[in-house]
Symmetry: D2
Subunit: 369 residues, 4 copies
Amino acid sequence: MKNNIGTNISLTVFGESHGPQIGAVLDGLPAGFAVDEDRIAADMEKRRAKGRISTQRHEADEVHIVSGYFNGYTTGTALTILINNSNTRSKDYEKTKNRLRPGHADYTAFEKYHGFQDYRGGGHFSGRLTACLVAAGSICRQILEQKGVFIGSHMEQLYSIHDDVFSDDLETLKEQIDLMNHREFAVLNTEVGRQMKEKIEAVASQGDSLGGILETAVIGLPTGIGEPMFDSVESVLSHLLFSVPAVKGVSFGLGFGFAKVKGSQGNDDFHADPYGHITTMTNHNAGINGGITNGMPIVIHTVIKPTASIYQPQPSVDYQTRENVTLQIEGRHDPCIVHRARVVVDSVVAFGLLDLWMSKKATEDWVCA
Amino acid sequence: MKNNIGTNISLTVFGESHGPQIGAVLDGLPAGFAVDEDRIAADMEKRRAKGRISTQRHEADEVHIVSGYFNGYTTGTALTILINNSNTRSKDYEKTKNRLRPGHADYTAFEKYHGFQDYRGGGHFSGRLTACLVAAGSICRQILEQKGVFIGSHMEQLYSIHDDVFSDDLETLKEQIDLMNHREFAVLNTEVGRQMKEKIEAVASQGDSLGGILETAVIGLPTGIGEPMFDSVESVLSHLLFSVPAVKGVSFGLGFGFAKVKGSQGNDDFHADPYGHITTMTNHNAGINGGITNGMPIVIHTVIKPTASIYQPQPSVDYQTRENVTLQIEGRHDPCIVHRARVVVDSVVAFGLLDLWMSKKATEDWVCA
Amino acid sequence: MKNNIGTNISLTVFGESHGPQIGAVLDGLPAGFAVDEDRIAADMEKRRAKGRISTQRHEADEVHIVSGYFNGYTTGTALTILINNSNTRSKDYEKTKNRLRPGHADYTAFEKYHGFQDYRGGGHFSGRLTACLVAAGSICRQILEQKGVFIGSHMEQLYSIHDDVFSDDLETLKEQIDLMNHREFAVLNTEVGRQMKEKIEAVASQGDSLGGILETAVIGLPTGIGEPMFDSVESVLSHLLFSVPAVKGVSFGLGFGFAKVKGSQGNDDFHADPYGHITTMTNHNAGINGGITNGMPIVIHTVIKPTASIYQPQPSVDYQTRENVTLQIEGRHDPCIVHRARVVVDSVVAFGLLDLWMSKKATEDWVCA
Amino acid sequence: MKNNIGTNISLTVFGESHGPQIGAVLDGLPAGFAVDEDRIAADMEKRRAKGRISTQRHEADEVHIVSGYFNGYTTGTALTILINNSNTRSKDYEKTKNRLRPGHADYTAFEKYHGFQDYRGGGHFSGRLTACLVAAGSICRQILEQKGVFIGSHMEQLYSIHDDVFSDDLETLKEQIDLMNHREFAVLNTEVGRQMKEKIEAVASQGDSLGGILETAVIGLPTGIGEPMFDSVESVLSHLLFSVPAVKGVSFGLGFGFAKVKGSQGNDDFHADPYGHITTMTNHNAGINGGITNGMPIVIHTVIKPTASIYQPQPSVDYQTRENVTLQIEGRHDPCIVHRARVVVDSVVAFGLLDLWMSKKATEDWVCA
């Protein structure tokens, strides 16, 4: 459904880039969870624009919880988050409101909403709405973390620059996730990070933009989460990930690399340790078999396309006059959003996994011995 | 929800590999649509196992419509499809029922269903259930086709063998789609097809298996289909595609290639023809901007991993005794399912797009002048 | 959604009165539940037509479980029920297929499905489909019963004849529920039952029909089931009850009697016993406060209208010619369905409460101390 | 789902009685609808407390639309309504927060939310949240009205005082609906209204409260709206109506009166006028056959129980100490909410019917000739 998703917990997102407020309703949370508001702020900070590698629209992104939260604890009823839009410059958009930005949703918004869409700053299609996903997702993450589940992402690739990859060793991976969640620019290799920033700045100075690939890992999930057919872990997570603007590809484990291996190479052999604990010796399937978690880390690759709004002149069309025109974008835009998107990815993954875990709980412990 | 999906039309899938019947309920269809049963049979035939490149379990896959269908037309009420399982050899599975097949859902089924799962032939996790998706999807496709929407897939890659790619030219693409829907082994280049079949047979003789990448194209969709946030076209289609067993990656347009281009290269510039009809000059975004169709072809890449069930001995674990064992699989399995999966992919794409189109219709023509 | 309902468990119903089969898919059941097939048969028997007080269409109503069930236990995947239609006489309906039965769905089916509906025996609108509700509901009831939850209904009113009412005393009520579940004609007072049967037979001989009111009680539910706003216990149960053909009113506890009392009379005062167990001293609110169970019995009244299909000549319209005509119904119809409907009511109530209970479980035990 | 409902349009409600704001997200609206904000204010005014017959908590109930609305028109994206809580006196509730109000949700909230619920003013269970239903419902009503659909309710019964009933004559009924929508105290017979107000004031002076029955009529709906099984018009509307606090019974047409008539009396005979337009000669079935509209007025009865919060001392229990106590409520409460509830009833009915109509549109015009 349009702006609402979820089964046992549901998330409703609303707002426009230049409206008074954006927000989210997170419903179905357990009662009595002590939300760490500082942690929400820390997660918001990871997404917040700053420096020359992001948009010059700087927002405080302060999160106001106006319902479902009482004396520091979730009440169990619908929890509502409001975030103010303060730093808007709507006039940047008036002049070009009929000129369709290539790669952006301007044209499709016209076709779907017949000209009634709020065009200012991309309106409802703005990446600004991902702030709501982060705030809501932060609460989901906190719940998962107290259960021993940790999520983290890094920028595996930016243009032609490649970061190190997440480790196959669980202990090392745990440290890497922790590191990513404390590092402002999420790369494993800081020298690579320096190169990536330079590359973004260089491309920004050309009025152009860049995309990249995020690698996300989830550790600590129990086995048996996910459903066999339509709510496979992959289905639920990809649904959420493709809801994030600019995502154009999602894969799990070996992903598209599965095309190039044989079954004997792609299968993950099982092993039991002396205590009878079963793991797989490799993790090509990213902790998911038949759509259901097997206890190994979930590993996801998500590609973020280069920001559509670039400052170079682009061939376009005036929607009203149907004339071919040259578009010169104004407004303030990101030369790259991959580094800001990583916490958005973590957030929607957290929401999806918490919801699937709840569905598992719903069907358990029904059979009396 | 587990085995049910959809908003205005919904699809419920049920059954197990060795149960008496598998089936699907397709609800919310328009009344009065003349279903072409021969076409369903033709679509089923594309998925049906035959020859040495598929499993030796040969099923008639005859489709019985037992409700929602009267005198050759849909009634508008829930349409139910039943398909018999006739060629089952359950004893192949008894001996090894506690030995977990690497890459398959045996272990996760144990963990989720606590040993109560039907293990015969993979039970509910069998690729056999995709027969239901094809039968239901065929009806959706037929509805779309009379509206001028056509869907087709080919095997773009199998191991290291690459087919030609779909054309950027709409007329040519239409012909290619038509060709794929009439060709038994879906490749554009028949010489490549011959090589692929040889490769599958060679790998089969080693007791191993192969995967590949399907390229799928959809033409003729109107603009304005899809929702802005959670029901983006990419979200809905990927949700369905990752419900198909063995799918481990889905991308749209340039997909993961977006990481390697700049915005100026990845954006699709707009152009208006003399009649005011707007198109894009390239189609890197696969006909989707902001989650909504822009009228250009939708182009999807789906990776299918190599069949998990291979005949080579594999390290495994006995779930009950927790002993490390060597698994020697019996039963009849496909050395490759990519060629059979292509019509499954077409089918779920058809379902998803029809449902999204219906959602669009639901909100239109409400405002009186 | 049309023919599908539920959150953690879902129920999909399909079929037509004179099609080959009707059925249901019950998805989301816990794995490992030992279904008692004899009990399903016993529940089906309560709904089955027999004697002069029901239709002369006698069906075996044998229930075939074709998926989600293995070696006597639920597998946890979609459980599918098929029931054959064997005793059909479709020609009874051909002659009058355009003559709209007053009170029935003939006209609205024409308007909704544009003449493509299966008109034979009421098609999808036939009370025959409630057989699916009973079969699926019987499994839900069995799960609830092992948890100590019992459901029963009796015919509180038939025309001007009134049965005794359910007791306020919990022990007595439990015995009454048990009695109703073993009595073929569900009345507390057997002398009243004799009068009711006579009345039905008398009215049947006039070619007319009767309705009535069912009183349903549920005992043993834990507190805290139900949701605060849209999924209140009353909302979920009424949604299901109004899905049963011929239901035209649903109330809880005092119901419409609440209009005639003051707050001081309608409120249920609280009382704690020496062990600190809290109950209410009366139960006007039917065990539900704020949409959520308080541990007292749920008491529901459901009105079933007189069967629409009667044998008296009725003014009607020919849908095709638009002529005013006199309709003389053929076919075989029930002079009363209240006695058959009671187990249908029990069944949908069981489904609704099990689903709500599952939703409660999904959000519990998330907060680590 | 808890605080979210709807298929093609969805409504999410959030907030607590004494939180900073309550609100609603109405998603899936058609784009380009010119919302009449004065009309929203007028509908809010009908629900607003004033005079001695309502609570002394007087709120401005100003509606702020913060998303999905641009330049006076709906944009088609999620429309969000915020309403401030300004006149709160939370200290009234602290003293008695563990003393369970009979008839209210205090006990069930404790049991469900384990003490983490916001107890102030009833928190999420407060009738205050119905302000959100009215604001959202007003927009739905406006859309329906431009399509010729009108909804109105009157207080048919208050304690032992009975209003006139809605007319069977369509023209007269239309005038009555219009009158009710302009009358502050919704009764057809103003002398009866005077008596009702006196009765409320008299009961209020005793520290007691009253309930009543609302009769609601909907005219102008096309035929063919509603679904055959689970989304019957009655199912969808009752689900919404039972979501309104204090509703304990809902019936359609003759309702519980159907138990006392024969089929020959309860059926509505069909008649075609000279133009071939089909109507029924009576309307016992309230414009709904088989769950689907037949073009006749929908007529609903909804019982509202007496306000649970009364000022008389009541036997209760302290939840923490488990002691039996006498509860003396403070705070400000309504002696009757029936007169305020009528516009809430109209509002949820409008939402439900608009959503069902949208579902009908989704499946129409698919079959090409």
